[in-house]
């Protein structure tokens, strides 16, 4: 029955905005997307001014970030009409960069990101099951039937696409926005395991189970399947991290 006000919620209002190391943030965001296969070789990035607007940073920050990517051989800048920054075709998969990225992230942070991501996806799945109409369920099934989970690139794109569909069915603009932000930050890493054919099949089966629970308006089941799905993706990621730390290859 204790009723005094704890400081948490009030202080959070004034918490520092993400501000420090903006060039680094731009670099990490684009590097992850490229080395983890969300951006495809030869794909053109949005223009510098467009990137600046979307990231909410100064033009110079975007230019600095792109310069780092160019030096790393991840993008090239083409001049003239139809020019811009393009994702470089890698001779080999970016294994060394993925190793370095996994090594550079602490286990405790990877686990924590997975908790955050799972919490949002669970909430989306639960609300989607509570709120989906029959036409919504039909559309979700149709979407899932048309989505490619057989190829690595397809599974990476469509895994994120399915989360977004669930968020939309929750009818919450805030959940949609939060999911988009989280996917931008953590999605590519979490989906590292999509190189594994068994992991892809298991993800598709899990998505089908979630869609079934949504149709049945079974919120508890939808939530449970979402929990298990993100846990299994996180386990794959943490295993890869452990392999790297033991001196092996992340995808061995």
């Amino acid at each position: 029955m204790e009723a005094h006000n704890r400081p948490g919620a009030r202080e959070a209002i004034f918490a520092q905005l993400v501000d420090a190391g903006r060039t680094e943030q731009v670099t990490i965001r684009l590097t992850d997307a490229i080395i983890l296969g969300v951006l495809a070789p030869d794909e053109r990035l949005p223009s510098e001014s467009d990137l600046a607007r979307r990231f909410g940073v100064a033009l110079i920050t975007v230019r600095e970030g792109l310069a780092v990517l160019r030096d790393a051989g991840l993008v090239e800048t083409r001049r003239g009409r139809g020019g811009g920054s393009f994702v470089m075709k890698a001779d080999a998969p970016h294994s060394t960069l993925v190793q370095a990225r996994l090594h550079g992230l602490a286990q405790v942070d990877l686990s924590d990101m997975a908790v955050h991501f799972a919490t949002i996806v669970e909430g989306c799945a639960q609300r989607a099951a509570l709120r989906a109409s029959e036409p919504d369920s039909d559309r979700l099934d149709l979407w899932l039937r048309g989505a490619d989970f057989a190829t690595v690139a397809g599974a990476r794109t469509n895994a994120g696409g399915f989360y977004l569909e669930l968020a939309v069915l929750s009818q919450s603009a805030r959940l949609v926005r939060e999911l988009i932000r989280l996917q931008a930050e953590f999605g590519p890493l979490l989906l590292l395991g999509m190189t594994d054919a068994r992991a892809r099949r298991s993800l598709l089966a899990s998505n089908q189970a979630i869609a079934g629970a949504v149709r049945a308006n079974d919120a508890a089941a939808a939530r449970q399947f979402a929990t298990e799905q993100v846990r299994s993706l996180a386990e794959w990621l943490l295993n890869a991290k452990a392999r790297v730390e033991r001196g092996g290859a992340w995808d061995a």
């Binding site: 607007r53 109409s133 036409p135 968020a167 939309v168 929750s170 009818q171």
Partner: protein, 246 residues
């Protein structure tokens, strides 16, 4: 309960009529665009069409209290020279949009970007295109969270554009209107009614409610009276049931 009241009573029909009236400006705007665009040509150059649409929609997207959050024209296949798909769509000023950032001016949506390609490929099967095409009537899609552009809870209004009756559809003019805007117009009236009310769409999704146990975005269940909103796929439920699931 008093049988006779001296105060003017707000009836359920008043509320339903207010919802219909609140869409009148929007439909009038779309109707004006439709007349402008049904110019008698059976095909058009993309640059000419884009300039024409931009001139029409920008005033409705900018200014102190813009009517729409997004608007434009989506061409039927073949109407625009050499193009199976052509979207001429603009968004109003954005603040902190997770996809598009912030902008103080209206911006054109680039549907060539990869994120949109899957969506665009199937546009003919989507409700906001398919329904006006098959019924030749204005249609209201939603409410839904627009994950492609605004990331807001919106309705999409679409109206078919034809040169004459029985001719093929040239495309649809459309506009996105936020649920927030509708609420600001009609909620005071809903609150003045003497019973709890909920405005729902065709699948009984709640848009506006004066019963806190029945919240926006939920599916309402209902066994009592209701009044349809003329010209819209909405109705006002009287005393919506407390929901078994939330």
């Amino acid at each position: 309960m008093p049988e006779i009241s001296q105060l003017p009573e707000v009836t359920i029909s008043d509320c339903a009529a207010a919802v219909t009236a609140s869409f009148a400006d929007a439909f009038a705007e779309l109707d004006g665009w439709r007349n402008e665009l049904a110019g008698g040509e059976t095909s058009v150059r993309p640059t000419d069409l884009d300039a024409h649409v931009e001139g029409l929609v920008i005033p409705a997207l900018t200014g102190a209290s813009p009517l729409f959050v997004g608007a434009g024209f989506i061409a039927a296949p073949g109407y625009v020279h050499g193009r199976d798909i052509h979207f001429a769509w603009w968004l109003g000023p954005q603040a902190g949009n997770p996809l598009l950032g912030s902008s103080s001016a209206a911006t054109r949506l680039d549907f060539a970007a990869r994120a949109y390609t899957d969506y665009v490929r199937d546009f003919r099967t989507l409700e906001w295109y398919q329904v006006p095409q098959s019924t030749n009537q204005t249609h209201v899609t939603g409410p839904y969270v627009d994950r492609l552009c605004t990331c807001e809870y919106i309705f999409t209004l679409t109206m078919p554009v034809r040169i004459g009756e029985g001719t093929p559809m040239l495309g649809v003019v459309g506009a996105d209107i936020s649920v927030r805007r509708l609420e600001s117009i009609v909620l005071p009236l809903f609150l003045a009614a003497d019973r709890p009310l909920a405005l729902v769409n065709a699948v009984d999704r709640v848009v506006i409610s004066t019963d806190p146990t029945v919240q926006v975005g939920q599916l309402a269940s209902h066994s009592g009276d209701s009044v349809a909103c003329s010209g819209l796929p909405f109705r006002v439920l009287v005393g919506p049931d407390r929901l078994p699931r939330f």
